[in-house]
Symmetry: C2
Subunit: 244 residues, 2 copies
Amino acid sequence: MDRKLAESLSVDCVLFGFDMEKLNVLLVDRVLKDDNDTIIFSDLTLTGYHIYKDEDLNSAAARIVKDITGLEGLVLEQFHTFGSLTRLQRPNDQLWSKQLGDAISDRVVSVGYYSLLPNTDIEIIQKGRIVNWHPVSSVKNLAYDHEQILKKALGHLRYKLQTEPIGFELLPDKFTLTQMQTLYETIIGVKFDKRNFRKKISQMNYVVALNEKQTGVAHKPAQLFMFSREVYEKTRKERFSFFT
Amino acid sequence: MDRKLAESLSVDCVLFGFDMEKLNVLLVDRVLKDDNDTIIFSDLTLTGYHIYKDEDLNSAAARIVKDITGLEGLVLEQFHTFGSLTRLQRPNDQLWSKQLGDAISDRVVSVGYYSLLPNTDIEIIQKGRIVNWHPVSSVKNLAYDHEQILKKALGHLRYKLQTEPIGFELLPDKFTLTQMQTLYETIIGVKFDKRNFRKKISQMNYVVALNEKQTGVAHKPAQLFMFSREVYEKTRKERFSFFT
DNA sequence: ACAAAAGTGTTCGATATACACCCATGA
DNA sequence: TCATGGGTGTATATCGAACACTTTTGT
């Protein structure tokens, strides 16, 4: 590959997953070894890479996710751009750059994207790197300023979740109302009343009941539902108002 | 100044103003002349410039606004980053780059910021460039992809306006409720009922009545109000919910 | 038969909407 | 005195919050 890098520009993608119990984020192991294969340090990064000069931001984000995880066709949403002068200046990060022979010791500006996926339904293909789901609530040991990036992404996710029906992107195609409720409770961090929750959902005509029930559970099997984007697009209301 | 530019990185700031009648945006005249001083073309740009390698994004935004308008201390909020491969490729933009001897013919990624100001209370200092308020509703002839940037900024403004009490940044320190209502009606594009609007406002204890009235108007003078950030911070509620 | 989660309705208070007239001032 | 925008209250409908028991399945 002889494409030129856009010096000092990268993309970092925060890939969120939900496993019916907690919110997770996909992270890449970063291990620096010396010549004797002794580990100097080991930490975690978001899925990110530099941008090429001949690709736009969205394509770069899609390419990077695909290169690292094998995933294609995700909805990637840009949420913030990070350009602190010190974002790559911690000791581990400097060692890492040096080792790679990256001449990039200057500040790199990174455009942040996030995407949502049901981590039950999804298979990650390890393409040379070690990539794993980590519970968002207990992530530590992140490289660079990736903790900040993750926090900001989480803020956007919470906000968006309360504002638009994107929760479905974190659920499998067929889901139960209890799963949906758990998702919102987990991510937003509030408990809902089951009856009120379901009353609310039943007014959303884009959440449609299927002729299908859960199987293999040791209790009354739940009705399965799906999200209909078509119905949603046709019936979406105008934005909430600050006033009304 | 011998600071190095971060090649291929710039900031564009969308400065919104409100004059009690309509929403305006501050734009810079861009006029290209040939050697005989004949005008080749003339159009408008947002207040933007390249970023230096030794400044972070927020500082760059503040510096650029100050350099072009003399304004300091604005609340500048980052809203989106633009990186299309063709954003500087229209004929005028190419001519302009050539004329400036800017070796930058490659794509430049630009980080977008916006800020709100009451354009009544504010004085713009022309620092070598011609800078004017233009009504947002009739802006045309924008350079680069600045029309897109403006549209996106407007979207964010509308959204934020309905979600957080930022409208006050567009009003003078002392304002009447009718002015406030006009602001929301103009920007969001809906009409409100006067009594209901005022009922709503009276529940916002951070909108406080002053012991002062309008003067010099040919009708019953209106009560003046101010926005109290302290009260707001102390009593702000949690986010709206998608559900509740 | 029991454990485990599914499913279901009503009452009460709060909030949104619709709507029309008198008031204070400057000209 | 008139033109102009300022200021106010009530009735009705809608929506959110609180709350407990029966049902269906697998073991």
